[in-house]
Symmetry: C2
Subunit: 194 residues, 2 copies
């Protein structure tokens, strides 16, 4: 079950599983980047990081309830061999030439030239990157869960410790009050015995 050993190991791994920044591009699997983040960074990493990209549904997505047939967007099978349908944000007219240069629409972009060797190479590299990234995400999620369970366990132990200390404290207080009473009695009346 891999419990015990207190917080140390799990927390350590969990913390180091969060990306501090980008890293090298070599295919070295043992990516031991010594990154470190604050709690805020960790939270925001999967909360506010929607990437203000050109997907009109992301905000709604993160707010929940994004399923339901929001937009068909994939019933026109007019695509040529290979390359499945993909949302091209049909809810957009022709404002591209009028947008700010930063938001420039994708103007043909140098004819992607499908099924070329260069394309396949890029695709394959991206596929590898995707697998790597998802694997990392999976590990991160698992570590977060383990961390949560470990923290919960620690919490229980701490609560019990607090209970013990409180009880001990009450006992001592009681004893002290008794002593106090005894001392008062001794002070008021003379010693009863001895």
């Amino acid at each position: 079950m891999m419990s015990d050993s207190r917080v140390s190991s799990v927390i350590q791994e969990w913390v180091s599983s969060y990306p501090g920044q980008g890293q090298g591009q070599t295919l070295n699997p043992s990516n031991q980047s010594t990154n470190q983040m604050s709690q805020m960074d960790m939270l925001s990493y999967s909360q506010g990081m929607i990437r203000g990209g050109a997907d009109d549904r992301v905000a709604e997505q993160m707010m929940g309830l994004s399923y339901l047939p929001y937009t068909p967007s994939c019933l026109t099978n007019t695509s040529s061999p290979s390359s499945t349908n993909h949302h091209q944000s049909s809810t957009q007219q022709d404002f591209s030439p009028f947008l700010l240069p930063t938001l420039r629409a994708p103007v043909t972009k140098r004819s992607i030239s499908k099924d070329s060797a260069e394309y396949r190479q890029r695709r394959e590299r991206n596929n590898i990157a995707v697998r790597k990234s998802r694997d990392k995400a999976r590990r991160r999620i698992m570590l977060t869960q383990q961390r949560a369970l470990q923290l919960q366990e620690d919490n229980q132990k701490l609560q019990m410790r607090i209970g013990q200390l409180t009880q001990e404290l009450d006992t001592l207080k009681h004893i002290l009050s008794q002593r106090h009473l005894q001392g008062a009695e001794e002070g008021a009346a003379g010693e009863s015995s001895i």
Copy 2:
């Protein structure tokens, strides 16, 4: 920041975000299923649940290091229009008629009949289910992170409380020992004053 209010709300939501079992199939977004799991269930939900399916790479996947060009499996673009390449587990001869009925191989399976209305309908339904499932997963992950942070915060507070109690206890013990000495002195020698 939504902190404060102790553990209650976050934990509650986190616990209820884990699937206890399947639920209804209605498209009702407000899925308030009253499921509840033990910690073991939660952990195993994303740890050992690899689904012993027919993907020869899953174990390796979960052990880490699954990227790297493990298998091309997608360089033969001989597929007809629509339907991108997809691993069809080529490492299989022709044992289908000899396998147990339960393990029967996918024998043509009634000609899937692409681009049929029924196919599109199934695809669309599955797409909705996928969006829903992923949305749920995202929420679950976020809740787990928030829960971890909340627990960490709680832990710090508990540690501080323990520190206070310990100090108070030490103080009382010291006082008691003083009283004890005082009492011993009073017992040994007569009252010094009064």
